[in-house]
Amino acid sequence: MLVITRKKGESILIGDNIEISISKIEEGSVKLAINAPREMTILRKELYEEVEHENKEAVKMKLNIDVLKKLGKK
């Protein structure tokens, strides 16, 4: 893990085609400008973690086919 300090306006280059620059610094938050190939996914980490958590929760309750058949039938 590389930990690096940047001032407003400064940038970091990752690999050949990713650039992250510090757009704005306020108390409590930093605005980042990210330049990356369009095929790369960029996500807020907490959103990914929330989906990951939800997926793991989803598989906890195991109901077999016969019970599932009755679900959703009016």
Binding site: L43, R44, E52, H53, N55, K62, K69, G72
Partner: protein, 141 residues
């Protein structure tokens, strides 16, 4: 080919049914191969079973069963990753979280499974869209 699930019993499938999730699914990154089986002709639910780990299966439902006007825009990233060439080849499913109380059963509309039935590739696609919930109630009445 078959897989014996401790929950659903023996599930028979053919090679051509296998959907390949190159990135796995968040929380289960190592497992890439799944098959989708119907519960029965009437049920809105389906089972997405891992063929690499018999213990892992998801219950899924089409998001359109919950929101008729469900609509998403696919990024270039996922279009390329799944080799999507035609909109008609795209299937969407939401992972369902079961509950002992039927009214608490929810589906993840915010991160649908996007499947290209032509290339047999899939990916869980996380939307940044505010109006779709991670836990949307399946049974609304």
């Amino acid at each position: 080919m078959e897989i014996i699930s401790p929950v659903h019993g023996k599930m028979i499938y053919e090679e051509k049914e296998i959907i390949y999730f190159e990135k796995g699914i968040p929380g289960f990154d190592e497992l890439k191969k799944y098959i989708i089986k119907e519960v029965d002709e009437e049920s809105p639910f389906k089972i997405m079973q891992s063929i690499e780990n018999a213990e892992l299966g998801f219950i899924i439902i089409s998001p359109f069963e919950i929101k008729k006007d469900y609509e998403i825009k696919l990024s270039n990233e996922i279009i390329e990753a799944l080799n999507i060439q035609n909109q008609k080849d795209v299937l969407l499913y939401s992972i369902v979280k079961l509950d002992s109380k039927i009214e608490n059963i929810t589906a993840n509309l915010k991160a649908p499974l996007v499947i290209n039935i032509n290339s047999k590739k899939g990916q869980q696609y996380i939307l940044d869209k505010e109006d779709y919930n991670i836990r949307e109630k399946v049974f609304n009445n």
